[in-house]
Amino acid sequence: MPAAGVVLLVAVVLIVLALVYYLVSTIVALRSIAGGLDEVIASVGEIVAKSAPVNDVVTDINANLDAAVSALEGLLVKKAGMQDAVGLVEGLYPGAAAAGFRDFPESGEVVPPRIGEVYTKGTLTLARLGREAPIATANPAGAVLRDVEYGSAAARNLYPHGREAGAPTLPRSPVIGTSAPVQYEQREDIGKPRKRMRSA
């Protein structure tokens, strides 16, 4: 065999060896990729299965909470009246009255009364729930003190003319809490020994 033929044979063998090495290595890498993708598919399947009921559950929770919000807003407005309800919310959460109630869009336009007026009415309402309330009819101490059908008459007698005429002109109640516009510094002498007067 001539030398050129031998060189040709060696070159072909080298090419085939290169093909074998790289193709086998590529096959190994692709098998590793396929194994990884199998794990991914299994995990994604678990994610899909675990998250499948989430939408229905969250929708149900939101529906229940929406119903509760509607009921509580309706009860508050029904019992306290729109103005006092807005005032109560404003007193508890300063600035919240501007947003109004969700089911009462007109509540955002209500000017909230001073919180003192709302609390006064609330205190009277709580007082009516005591000895004079209809629920006290079973009180062993005796008969109820008020007429059940006109339970709020006694409280109304305290303010026969309704809201004070000058109430809107009174200054607003101070806002307290961490979000208050005026923050008062804590006294440094609190908790320390009392200062003593020097003896003459």
Partner: protein, 88 residues
Amino acid sequence: MTLWWIGDAVLVLGVLPVVVYLLNGVLSEARSIVPSVQRIARTAAAGSKDLDAAALLLTTQEQVRQTVAGVADYGGSLDAIVDDAEEA
């Protein structure tokens, strides 16, 4: 004979380097995908594990129902006890 040598030279100096270059490129790209796929698999497994708590939503759903039912009962009692607001 000269043509044989020319063919050998083309095969050794031209075809063989091109084959090696191309196959090496394919192999390096295939190997570079492996770590990415492994990271994706670990992330998907971690995401699946995080969703184990999703089953607790059923408990939350039931508790919300019971709470709302309690609030409704309490509100109904208040509606019966407390007088309505006076008409303006």
